[in-house]
Subunit: 206 residues, 2 copies
DNA sequence: TCATTTTTGTACCGTTCCGCATTAAAATCT
DNA sequence: AGATTTTAATGCGGAACGGTACAAAAATGA
């Protein structure tokens, strides 16, 4: 790491904070629906500074998607704490997801990736790849925990962690879409509960 | 119904066919990503004709969404033919869904509603309502079939049709998102199979 | 035949879009 | 201090945007 001070005028903004602010705008308005002027206003950077620091609009958008994916993966790792029972792990994943999906100024905004990147996936292959790769990463984390659960006997030996992880992710995808569609919280919580039972079996271990 | 001939110059286009062509464009490019010029080119109508017949861009988009919802509900009713076993019904739903989701000129385009309307749901409340209402209609059709299945003994008495229908729909939502994200067909078929087992139980009735 | 009604086609409106050229400002290096 | 390097700010420019005014065209009604 070069710890030497850089030559020119120093930046007057924090790169990570700027990406987070840009993410908020993209989240609400989508990629095509967001103008550079809106990004400029939200980040307090002029368009040329945005351009210089992050590239064009698609580059910046991909940066916000990558940040969201990384944050989500960290949150998922925390939720899947293997020192806790599987049932609590899965419930915690849905709890965290819903907490994010139901936030929003005007209306529940769902998942940033599913809610905005899906629309661009046909026309922008880099967005499509980012989306696919992110979904696969989420699947993989859940699958790993389910494999551990089978080893430990939290799930029966016949359980299929691969198939089960796809189903568990599916519930999350559906929560993401339905939240953004304006589904009531009760219904989403019912779905999350059903998802937990589906993965861990119906018997409560209260 | 007034069968009297209308006064002025007759239309040189078919309204339903035009909506279908517009749907194709919106499906690939999303609402914000589609220009009136693109719609005009695809439908062979000039912008003023489009505007006169369907209203503004959002009105036209809502019309294409409504058409897709109606088509999908009909397809779902067909798939849920109660004279066939539940397992075949659910498998058929996913089969039809995948057949649609995997079609597309450049890349698999997923579900029109989930793939494009979700992105607009925050900014355009009419789109959000259309999306929510459509998803609820799909849920309701599945739930009705599952209730019948419980009555008939295709599912155990303790089965919860409401919760199960939400889960069954979730698999469909996930197929929609993943297809558009570029997931390989094998994986989608695995998920669909897992979804059928989840709803109907693992025992194959071969 | 001529007025009326509706659709079609051309052309244009003001706005917004993304991206960049250019200059001023703020830091380090010599 | 002066040269150099990097960022910040202003402003522009060509293109595309959604939407519409207006006139020509094609039907019906009288």
């Amino acid at each position: 790491m070069s710890e030497t001070k850089k030559r020119g005028r120093p930046r007057a903004f924090d790169e990570a904070a700027t990406i987070e602010k840009a993410r908020e705008v993209f989240w609400d308005r989508g990629f095509e629906g967001t103008s550079l002027d809106a990004l400029s206003a939200a980040t307090s950077l002029n368009r040329p500074s945005l351009y210089g620091a992050f590239g064009d609009k698609e580059d910046l958008y991909l940066g916000t998607l990558a940040g969201y994916r990384d944050d989500s993966l960290v949150a998922m790792e925390e939720a899947l704490d293997p020192s806790l029972p599987l049932r609590e792990n899965i419930a915690e994943i849905y709890r965290r997801a819903l907490s994010t999906y139901l936030s929003g100024e005007t209306s529940a905004r769902g998942c940033f990736l599913i809610g905005t990147a899906t629309a661009e996936a046909i026309q922008h292959s880099r967005v499509r790849d980012m989306l696919r790769q992110s979904l696969e990463a989420f699947d993989a984390e859940i699958e790993a925990r389910l494999m551990l659960a089978v080893e430990r006997g939290e799930l029966p030996k016949e359980a299929d962690p691969k198939a089960l992880s796809l189903l568990a992710s599916s519930v999350m995808h559906s929560l993401a879409v339905r939240a953004r569609a304006g589904a009531p919280r009760d219904m989403l919580e019912d779905l999350a509960r059903a998802g937990v039972d589906m993965v861990c079996g119906r018997a409560p271990q209260k």
